[in-house]
């Protein structure tokens, strides 16, 4: 019964989404506040419908209602509660429902929050958001209903369980964050389409776009980081980013959104780059949809693609083509008429931000080509090629390194016409420190790695640059300390947010370069009492015993770790067998040493020639690996800090005096 209620609510949500699009578009055409309010109401109603459907799906998972096809295929009675709930968005159908839930949620939020917007623009935005909701809800209802029942004679006694690799806390929360990021770009997209129809893109538009872009970007950052962390400790390879097509699919919208956040600043402060900001706003959501398509259509081979269904892939491709195609057509038609905005000198904050955008656009192109070129080439010539990590190391890494090198100078440059010499005077200490750190790393750390040392120098440059930026804002050491303190406490949150985000990037670069450069690895087949050495640590395999837990059978090892004779920690990696799905998964053990990790994996059991059992033990030394995940978290915190800035809410504050619907021409 509850599943039927959910299906019904889903159809209602679709009807409301259609109403939302129709009412709001008519409201704009007839300049009617009543219709506009009705459209906004429909947006909220549509969200409520999807929320009910989603709650029903979660209920079906929690109660293990195997008459629902999706539950039977993806759940199991003995699964822990968290994974029963997370299972509701772990499958194709469930994830699309989550997508719709977040899409309509953003739509409802934009409809209720965006009161500072000119009403024409807002009505159009709500209409576009409604159109997006219509398309995705129609897809859910007609092609991928997660609440569909099985025929009575096909209902199984037990479910087929969720892929055990996905039974993990980081991954349980990965999709909600990732989708909040992906779909958050829909508001930015709708605002861009609305502005193109209105024919006006100005500082005010950029100001409205930024909070949405910031929120989506922060969610996406957290989502991608959770995914990387999951890959790091669940896949048992010791790596965290594989340039896998599915990872790339989530990385492209992130790069686009990052570029948008920076170009929107130029549009907001100087009225320039309006067309480019619009392009990025459309591009960010297009790449989000492209990601959704790539992951689900089966055109990609990846470690973590969804169960594939080409028919649905075609439908998603049609959705992508329709929405993005029409938006970009509109862009091509209207954008040339936009005002080019303020002018600026070659050395200026605008130029620095444009450079940032060029490099981020090139980086996006790299990731896109690396992901799609093999598909295109195979389709055209029938020849298959592989594009693996070496390609990205050769193209993406230099682009990002260039970006990182110019980054600390950007915030110190003045708008319109900057003073390179002044920037040099402020940054030479940072440059000296970075150079010193790099040289010291090159000279002192063994084994000697030039590229690793360069990476560490760039990381140090970013971190010190972020501090210099704050010191500059407070005029530290140039005015009395009390004055500096007052300036420090009076800094707008937006400034803190930017500094945090840049600092986070520096922290990430330090961690990534250290880990990539100086990773240690050892593997050995050990009998009980056998030992293995990695990066100065001595690992002794003490015991291996069976563990019986309800969800899986496991064998767990106890490894005692010592350094220079002193005990350090014990690691308990396990090897789990999931009877429900018939899969074997390694559960790794991490021993934290400061920011570095000792990463231990228990492999298969063998028999030595002497007849005693031996186990394959792998251990990695991952120096500074914590920073790889900490950096993006700091970046996301920066985004949220910036989002809480008073200036972001100015639009809302204006609601006291509603504007007339007619806009001055």
């Amino acid at each position: 019964m509850i599943a039927e209620v959910g299906s019904f609510a889903l159809v209602l949500a679709l009807a409301f989404a259609i109403a939302q699009a129709g009412l709001s578009a008519t409201a704009r055409a007839r300049r009617s506040t009543v219709l506009a309010a009705a459209g906004e109401g429909a947006a909220v109603a549509s969200f409520a419908g999807v929320a009910i459907a989603f709650a029903c799906l979660i209920h079906a998972f929690v109660t293990s209602d195997f008459s629902v096809a999706n539950v039977a295929a993806n759940s199991h009675t003995e699964k822990p509660m968290l994974y029963k709930v997370a299972g509701s968005w772990g499958s194709h159908e469930g994830s699309i429902l989550l997508w719709c839930f977040i899409l309509t949620g953003y739509g409802a939020a934009a409809a209720t929050l965006g009161r500072g917007l000119p009403q024409g623009l807002k009505a159009l935005m709500v209409a576009v958001q409604g159109a997006l909701g219509t398309v995705f809800l129609a897809y859910t209802v007609f092609a991928s209903n997660p609440l569909a029942r099985l025929a009575a004679d096909q209902i199984p006694v037990e479910g087929r369980s969720l892929n055990p690799l996905l039974q993990d806390p980081a991954l349980a929360f990965h999709p909600p964050f990732l989708y909040s990021g992906y779909v958050g770009m829909s508001v930015v997209f709708s605002l861009a389409v609305a502005a193109l129809i209105e024919g006006r893109v100005d500082a005010a538009w950029a100001r409205w776009v930024r909070p949405w872009a910031l929120a989506a970007w922060s969610f996406l950052t957290v989502g991608i980081t959770l995914g990387a962390f999951w890959a790091y400790y669940e896949l048992g390879w010791g790596g965290w980013w594989f340039w896998d097509p599915v990872e790339n699919a989530s990385f492209m919208p992130w790069l686009m959104a990052t570029a948008l956040l920076h170009s929107a600043i130029v549009t907001e402060k100087r009225g320039a780059l309006a067309g480019w900001s619009l392009f990025l706003a459309l591009g960010a959501f297009t790449f989000s949809m492209l990601g959704a398509f790539l992951v689900r259509s089966g055109v990609l081979t990846s470690v973590h693609a969804f169960a594939v269904d080409p028919r649905r892939g075609v439908l998603l491709l049609i959705i992508l083509g329709l929405t993005s195609g029409s938006a970009f057509a509109l862009f091509a038609w209207r954008a040339p008429k936009l005002s080019p905005g303020g002018v600026f000198a070659p050395v200026s904050r605008e130029s620095a931000l444009v450079l940032n955008n060029i490099l981020l656009a090139a980086a996006t192109a790299t990731v896109m080509l690396g992901t799609l070129y093999p598909l295109i080439r195979q389709a055209l010539t029938g020849e298959a090629i592989s594009v693996g990590p070496p390609y990205f190391n050769l193209t993406f890494a230099p682009l990002m390194a260039t970006l990182a090198i110019i980054l600390p100078a950007g915030p110190l440059l003045a708008w319109k016409r900057g003073d390179l010499q002044g920037v040099g005077q402020r940054l030479w200490v940072a440059a000296l420190i970075a150079l010193g750190v790099g040289l010291a790393t090159y000279a002192l750390v063994s084994p000697r790695k030039a590229l690793g040392a360069l990476g560490i120098a760039i990381g140090a440059w970013l971190v010190v640059g972020a501090f210099v930026e704050i010191l500059e804002r407070t005029r530290a050491f140039r005015v009395p300390a009390a004055d500096s303190w007052r300036r420090l406490t009076g800094l707008p949150r937006g400034a803190w947010g930017m500094t945090l985000a840049h600092l986070g990037l520096g922290v990430f670069v330090l961690g990534a370069c250290c880990e990539l450069g100086w990773k240690g690895e050892a593997a050995e087949a050990l009998p009980l009492g056998g030992a293995l050495d990695v990066a100065g640590y001595h690992l002794v395999l003490e015991t291996v015993g069976p563990v019986e837990v309800p969800n899986f059978d496991a064998e767990r090892a106890m490894i005692r770790v010592s350094k220079a004779g002193k005990p350090v920690c014990t690691g308990e990696p396990d090897r789990r067998f999931y009877p429900a799905g018939g899969q074997t998964v390694s559960g790794i053990a991490l021993c934290y040493r400061g920011a570095s990790h000792l990463y231990m994996v228990l492999g298969e059991r063998r028999t030595a020639p002497t007849g005693t059992p031996i186990w394959l033990i792998r251990a990695y030394w991952n120096p500074w690996a914590t920073l790889i995940f900490l950096g993006p978290v700091i970046m996301a915190l920066g985004g949220l800090t910036s989002l809480s800035d008073r200036r972001m809410r100015l639009g809302v504050a204006r609601r006291a005096r509603p504007e007339p619907l007619e806009q001055p021409a």
């Binding site: 070659p346 444009v354 450079l355 070129y373 592989s386 390609y391 690895e521």
Partner: protein
């Protein structure tokens, strides 16, 4: 002991799993390190986007054996990779070839940078004369540029 330390050092940029199986390792650590470097660039053909360095598939194990044998026999990296591409096609290598057919792939990002820089330069040049002119100033500029022989 010493052998593990060396292995740890040689592992360097590689970060991987299946290939580390001690049972298959070459005796000479330098040769083993070379083999591992090649593994990272060879695709496990039956897997989902994994190199033979990561994969536990049977075919990957076979390919590792082939590569290790050839390394042991003293063939160069290029020779081994040519042997693999002759047998399995370009698909087997993780690094796409620098060839005319892959021009778009390798040149694309570079093209975006050049295009972007060109647009920026164009914008800076075209508009640098228009900074902050009042209508009177603009009129003066117009008159002056008309009388100017250039």
């Amino acid at each position: 002991m010493r052998r593990h330390a060396l292995a740890a050092i040689f592992a360097g940029l590689l970060c991987l799993a299946a290939a580390a199986d001690p049972a298959d390792r070459l005796a000479d650590p330098a040769q083993e390190a070379r083999a591992r470097a090649i593994f990272a660039d060879v695709r496990c053909l039956v897997c989902q986007n994994e190199s033979i360095d990561d994969s536990e598939a049977e075919l990957a194990a076979e390919l590792r054996k082939v590569v290790r044998e050839q390394v042991k026999a003293g063939r160069s990296d290029a020779e081994i990779k040519r042997f693999l591409t002759d047998r399995y096609g370009e698909f087997v290598l993780m690094t796409p070839k620098l060839s005319w057919t892959n021009l778009v792939l390798w040149g694309g990002p570079f093209l975006v940078v050049v295009l972007g820089a060109g647009l920026l330069a164009g914008r800076l040049r075209n508009r640098s004369g228009e900074i902050e002119l009042s209508p009177e100033e603009a009129e003066r500029v117009r008159r002056l540029s008309q009388t100017d022989p250039t």
